[in-house]
Symmetry: C2
Subunit: 298 residues, 2 copies
């Protein structure tokens, strides 16, 4: 993601990513250190950048979304820490460095994930406290927090993760595959974009455009990710590859092959582009993300 | 906890405990089933009852606290599921039935915990959505949600859990012991009582009394719990006993012995009783909890 506008927003997130963590006691240094380790290991920061981009897309400054953008990174990071655990994906490399449980042990890794998820909601509700006497702004924040909790919870990301875990070694159907992608990945990305729109107090039309954009990009992102698991190299993408095949996971490439998967990803990215095409320059970062995801499709 | 007023509130929680879970898709039956399994396995429902009791203590109906009370049970249940995992306490019995990972496997248990924690915040923010046009009520809900996220997160329960995990096999100090108790147990119970007060829009005086009560009862509760791990029997308390000693955990009985621990618990319960003594009948459930915790102290 080398687009300068994308990088500007990504830098903003990375500059402030530790600022919204709850003040931690000196006796909880392990917890803080383990949270910091995983939060600062890099990554694309896709969800948080999209939230900030959505604020700007709706005519507000990115700053108003900053606590929520960081909360998204706390959620994304918790989900990766738990996903990498021996009982789930058993990964020892993430974002190019050893996974949390490899460094701190499984017990601390589980609790660090719990801490990050809790920190996300503490950050969002703490931010709300600052606007108790500004009902209009408070409403926007409540809507954004609900949208995020929905997209990442039992009818979003967590539902998708469970379905993903259950799909291993089972017959994979198109229906199940769509369910996993829609929930495990697209719901969270859609929520990130929508939350940005809500924070900016956008009208329905823009929210609808952003929702279609987020969902399409989210689905395409998962397919591109699964393609890279087959064709990519571990050093470049920062994690071990070939794992889905070994684990017999239900993925697009597994069900439809590489070529067909590439076509599907392109279709989704076209749909995403279409959904925000009437906004031209206002959707610059949104379009940069589409371009980035298209690159590995050749 | 046989006091009729306690039982009335407990029944209210148990009657509605599944009602606030997000609507779950038929493809997520495993997740729903695993959440239901742990949520309906019984337990004292101490935190949720205290939240409802606090609403009544402050002159409101218990009903106004119901979504938040159920959210507390989602959080409490998630923390038990994760705590029981092989990598942490490795327990196979909880509330008299096999633990989540024993029934559903470690992967599903980890994700079910994540789902329950997410569900807690989805429940609270969804409830806020109903009051977007009632700024005074909305404020109360935001305050309660922040209080709960603080008490259960990185400067509350999760911090205490990490310290607890780290204390195993190490030299145990009074300072570390107090830190663990204050965070692992007391912070959550204190938050539960305070959240009830906030939801009811209580004045500062009542909030302060409730905070002192919650913290004292929370600390006493942990000591009584640790005493029962030594003197209790597994069938009666629904989980395996003698585990703390085997794991060389940092507990009051381990550091000060049974007698001294009993005295400390009594002191804390007296402080709790004192803190709400001026409210007489309005503190009936609060006092019932104190009486209940005093019983095993003989």
């Amino acid at each position: 993601m080398n687009h300068p506008e994308y990088k500007r927003l990504k830098n903003l997130v990375e500059l402030h990513i530790l600022d919204f963590l709850p003040e931690i006691d000196s006796k909880s240094l392990t917890l803080y250190e383990a949270m910091r380790y995983s939060l600062t290991a890099g990554g694309k920061r896709l969800r948080s950048v999209l939230l900030l981009a959505a604020c700007e897309f709706c005519g507000e400054k990115a700053d108003i979304g900053l606590p929520y953008a960081c909360a998204l990174e706390y959620i994304q990071t918790y989900s990766l820490i738990h996903d990498d655990l021996p009982a789930i994906d058993n990964d020892d490399l993430r974002r190019g460095v050893p996974t949390s449980h490899k460094v701190y042990g499984e017990d601390v890794a589980i609790l660090t994930g719990d801490g990050l998820l809790s920190a996300a909601f503490e950050t969002m509700t703490k931010d709300m406290l600052l606007y108790l006497d500004d009902p209009d702004v408070l409403k926007r924040k409540v809507r954004a927090a609900f949208e995020i909790s929905k997209g990442t919870g039992c009818r979003g990301m967590v539902a998708g993760q469970i379905a993903d875990v259950e799909s291993v070694n089972r017959q994979c159907s198109k229906e199940m595959l769509d369910y996993i992608h829609l929930n495990k990945t697209a719901a969270f990305i859609r929520s990130s974009v929508l939350a940005g729109c809500y924070l900016a107090g956008a009208d329905k039309e823009r929210c609808n455009a952003a929702a279609t954009y987020g969902e399409s990009v989210g689905l395409a992102f998962q397919i591109v990710n699964d393609l890279q698991d087959i064709t990519g190299d571990a050093v470049m993408i920062g994690k071990n590859t070939g794992k889905d095949q070994k684990a017999k996971k239900c993925t697009y490439p597994a069900l439809f092959g590489l070529k067909e998967s590439g076509i599907k990803a392109r279709e989704l990215l076209n749909r995403a582009r279409e959904s925000v095409s009437m906004y031209y320059d206002e959707a610059e970062v949104f379009n940069a993300v589409i371009d980035f995801l298209e690159q590995p499709l050749g």
